[in-house]
């Protein structure tokens, strides 16, 4: 489904070059739950960003259903991010002045037209599914950290994404809330959604079907 071949990524800062990814090759079949573990600075988040097309690699190929995404124009990447990929972040980034429901509908709010009724209903259902029924009209500031992460997951659900990229999804949550979020992610995977998750928590990494360990930009 998604295949990285000899991916390299170098970051330049103040005249200094740092190679963050070194000849990384990886294959992620459809429906897999892959966890990427490693210490801070090992390159796991950069790899996740490359796989989710948020960062273009300097070198190598990224194949999605056989198409090389590294040569795809910006518009093609936008379509992919809109339709197939979803990313959730450690700080469950939500737009602070939009309600939980509006944040869930954010992918469909790029035009001036209001979202169709069925989409709004689907978004409400998704929020209900992640345990936020009745909290659709709350602003992020009135939701707990775990609830905000659930809104971010609901946003991936409403898009019917094929792959969920999760960057430390429990990193800012307490143990109990983190476990609840992980249960949700496992459920989504069991329903067929491919999951690629970056974590430094070995307990959560064990929930994935496969785990890769990174150190200094390479798998170890």
């Amino acid at each position: 489904m998604l295949q990285a071949i000899n991916i390299n990524k170098i970051f330049k800062s103040e005249g200094q070059e740092t190679q963050v990814l070194k000849n990384i090759s990886l294959e992620i079949p459809q429906g897999e739950f892959l966890s990427i573990v490693g210490r801070s600075g090992s390159g796991k988040t950069t790899l996740l960003n490359v796989l989710s097309t948020l960062v273009r690699p300097d070198d190598g190929e990224l194949l999605y259903h056989g198409d090389d995404l590294t040569s795809l124009p910006e518009s093609g990447l936008n379509r992919l991010r809109y339709a197939d990929f979803s990313v959730i972040f450690q700080f469950h980034h939500l737009v602070p002045y939009l309600t939980a429901l509006e944040n869930t509908l954010l992918p469909f709010m790029s035009s001036l037209k209001p979202a169709p009724r069925e989409l709004v209903d689907k978004a409400s259902d998704c929020l209900g599914r992640v345990g936020l029924a009745g909290k659709e009209n709350r602003l992020p500031g009135n939701l707990s950290g775990g609830e905000q992460q659930r809104v971010a997951i609901a946003r991936a659900l409403v898009k019917s994404s094929r792959i969920l990229f999760a960057d430390e999804p429990t990193g800012s949550l307490d143990k109990k809330t983190g476990a609840e979020i992980m249960d949700l992610i496992v459920d989504l995977n069991s329903e067929g959604m491919t999951v690629v998750m970056v974590t430094h928590d070995p307990e959560y990494a064990k929930l994935a079907g496969r785990s890769v360990n990174m150190e200094d930009g390479v798998f170890v």
Binding site: N49, S52, L54, V55, R56, E74, S75, N78, R79, L80, R81, Y82, A83, V87, F89, Q90, F91, H93, V95, L106, P107, S110, R155
Partner: protein
């Protein structure tokens, strides 16, 4: 906020300039007429045997008061005419002293002779007169005296303080009374017209009067008009200059605010790009937001400025006879202009923000 204050200042300045301009027009028009209507005539310079008799007028057709006044008041630009003051000039003798008597319609004359000051009251009945300072001195007449001319007695209701002009040498009386006693019914020697001319060329008014009154001599006292228009134009240009400075400052502030907003909202940009929003869409969202803020600022600023103009005018005490007038079209134009300016001011920062790569934006997360 910056833009609201900017719009408020501009609208307040604009309203104040309009009101002051209008008020100045009215005040300036009281300093004299700017169009003179007199009968057409031919001049003959008479000299014989080395003796010069001076210029003599002939073929002088007197003007009809009713016809001339109604003709002036029926021109297309009649709303620009603030006063039509007809006059009849006659000469007589009081004792052994020759003196000119000028018949005027007081209600039309006083608005354009606001600089007249007297030691008494202006006439309230046809048998009362006002006398110029030099004439009073020459004739030995004082306020309250009675004088006889053309066989009728007249009470001196006031003596004019010196004006430095022709008014000092004449007797001013009611036009109707003078027409009756001189048996020159409906006759006038000339008319003075005061026209308000901000934004209207005096030549057009003169041309229209000339069309209505063929065979008369009509002169525009262009110096007076130009002076009035220059004063009004000066105020309006001053306001325009200040408004432009405020507008440029406000637009710069909006640009800087947008740059700051872009930096503060890198996370949002990163999120939107990760959800598949294109650069163009992110640019559009920022511009739309700026335009919305601009229009809202325009509405709030317009009404605040409108309200502030009342306060400013009361502080300046320069708005006699005029007050700010709400115009819905002005509001629409203001909002449209401000909306466009905010979008233009925001376009560079918006494009800069939209062009941030998702990866760079996400580093802010």
């Amino acid at each position: 906020m910056v833009f609201t204050l900017g719009v408020m200042s501009i609208v307040a300045l604009y309203q104040v300039s309009l009101v002051i301009g209008s008020s100045m027009e009215k005040k300036l028009s009281t300093y004299g007429a700017n169009i003179l209507i007199s009968p057409s005539n031919e001049t003959l310079s008479v000299s014989y045997g080395g003796f010069h008799l001076g210029d003599m007028l002939y073929n002088v057709e007197p003007l009809s008061e009713k016809h001339t006044v109604s003709a002036v008041k029926s021109i297309e630009l009649k709303e620009r005419i603030s006063s039509v003051a007809p006059k009849l000039v006659a000469t007589t003798k009081i004792g052994d002293t020759a003196v000119a008597v000028v018949g005027v319609r007081w209600e039309n004359e006083l608005p354009i002779k606001s600089y007249w000051a007297t030691n008494g009251e202006f006439p309230s009945s046809p048998d009362e007169i006002v006398i110029g300072s030099k004439a009073a001195e020459n004739l030995g007449i004082h306020t309250g005296d009675t004088v006889n001319f053309f066989g009728s007695p007249f009470r001196v209701s006031a003596v004019l303080y010196p004006t430095g002009g022709d008014d000092d040498n004449v007797i001013l009386t009611d036009l109707g009374a003078l027409q009756t006693i001189t048996n020159r019914q409906d006759e006038v020697s000339f008319l003075e017209v005061a026209a308000l001319c901000s934004g209207c060329p005096i030549d057009d008014i003169v041309a229209q009067i000339r069309k209505q009154l063929p065979g008369t001599d009509i002169k525009a006292l262009s110096n007076v008009v130009n002076q009035r228009m220059a004063s009004i134009t000066f105020v309006q240009r001053l306001v325009l200059s200040i408004s432009l400075v405020i507008l440029v400052t406000a637009a710069t502030m909006v640009g800087l605010s947008m740059l700051s907003a872009v930096n503060e909202r890198k996370k949002d940009i990163g999120l939107l790009r990760s959800l598949g929003y294109s650069k163009g869409r992110v640019f559009f969202i920022f511009c739309l937001e700026a335009g919305f803020i601009g229009i809202l600022s325009g509405i709030i600023g317009y009404f605040s400025g409108f309200a502030a103009s009342f306060k400013a005018l009361s502080l300046l005490a320069m708005a006699e006879g005029a007050s700010p007038v709400f115009d819905f079209n002005h509001l629409l134009i203001t909002c449209s202009i401000i909306g466009v300016i905010t979008v233009l001011a925001a376009s560079y920062p918006a494009w800069k923000g939209a062009s941030i790569e998702p990866s760079q934006a996400l580093m802010a997360l």
